[in-house]
Symmetry: C2
């Protein structure tokens, strides 16, 4: 492969780190791995690794995530890029963060390759992480919060069928606020939901009705130009 004038300019390395969010017990969780390698051996980290020379970024993000956690078939979105010259102790490694939203209960995760362990941790209880991963996580969580307000991505975190209270809890956890139940329901009225006959099971009180997101109807609405998802 022909190269630009100075070899010095081809002395970089490029990695991808994937912040995987999931929702469980009213909390937004993030998937962490325990590093079995130096540097930062035995510390928790966001799953990530180096990109192969001929690999497209989104493919690489999928591959790396699968190698480390066996997580597969998730839709990854790009977030911020971090390139401080000293962020990696072993060389100039620039990294792009990716993020995905998953239904925890639908996916199997399993430590693999140089990941010694994997676990879900509530976003607000994340420990000190390797490299600048706390910075990466925080900036990506901020991005998630922004997107929650103008795209219907909360439904990627919620179970396929969810109660309106679960949906409310998700927003309450993300933004650290309490909301009025009645008003929350009015606010989400423009969002196309399918109301099922089915109800919540195994709860010690009146079970709530289950809903699901009507994505077909949502597509029609957005095509019509006047509709805008808003939370």
């Amino acid at each position: 492969m022909y190269k630009i004038a100075f070899d010095d300019f081809f002395n970089y390395s490029f990695s991808l780190d994937s912040v995987i969010f999931g929702f469980r017990n009213g909390e937004i969780n993030v998937l962490l791995i325990k590093r079995a390698l130096e540097p930062f051996k035995n510390m928790w980290a966001i799953p990530g690794d180096l990109v192969y020379p001929d690999e497209d970024l989104s493919n690489a993000a999928e591959r790396i995530l699968f190698e480390l956690t066996k997580l597969n078939n998730v839709e990854l979105h790009q977030a911020q890029t971090f390139g401080h010259p000293k962020r990696h102790p072993q060389g100039r490694v620039i990294t792009s963060a990716y993020f995905a939203l998953v239904r925890i209960e639908e996916f199997h995760v399993e430590a693999s390759s140089w990941a010694e362990e994997v676990k879900w941790v509530p976003v607000h209880e994340v420990p000190e992480l390797a490299f600048d991963h706390n910075l990466i996580l925080n900036s990506t969580f901020e991005l998630l919060k922004k997107k929650l307000t103008y795209e219907p991505i909360c439904f990627d975190l919620l179970p396929k069928r969810f109660t309106l209270n679960e949906m409310q809890q998700l927003f309450e956890y993300a933004f650290g606020v309490e909301m009025d139940k009645a008003n929350f329901r009015k606010k989400i009225r423009p969002i196309p939901l399918i109301s099922h006959d089915e109800k919540q099971m195994n709860v010690k009180h009146r079970p709530a009705k289950l809903f699901s997101f009507n994505s077909e109807s949502y597509e029609e609405l957005t095509a019509k130009e006047s509709y805008q998802f808003k939370m």
Copy 2:
């Protein structure tokens, strides 16, 4: 400097491209340079170049922008990163887009280094650009539009003192819609503006009053937690 196991992983190059937006005659413009170098010699492009090995990204973005256009002291924000393996014909070059908002009339731009020419072009009239720069420009303009709705960045594009109509035109151009003058003024009432005694000059009709953004007051408001800029 010690390096990670395989040299193959240090075979990348990293560049930064800065999309500079300015507002003039009711149109949002973008700053382009004409390339004096292969590849894509003589084509218009977004100003950008390779990052030095020990340089932080935001510093590098500033340096590169200055080298090519003499534009200085602008606040650069990171946008998306592009890394398709074939996006650069001469090697694996991953690039991050940055963007800045400037008052065209306050800054001097001048072609320099390997930029043969510089010019401002209305965003909706941009020609075919070098590399994947049309893609970069479009994605960055989308980001700008989003930010215009939840951050008071329109005031970085408008003259220090502006008329309410100029402000309205900026949003009309960005979103491609026409707005009602009376309602626009009501909508922006929560935004802290300073109303000056000064008026528009050299117009063939009743001159409009000049306003400026009250950033001190805005800082106080946002500190108070309940306020949120919204357009």
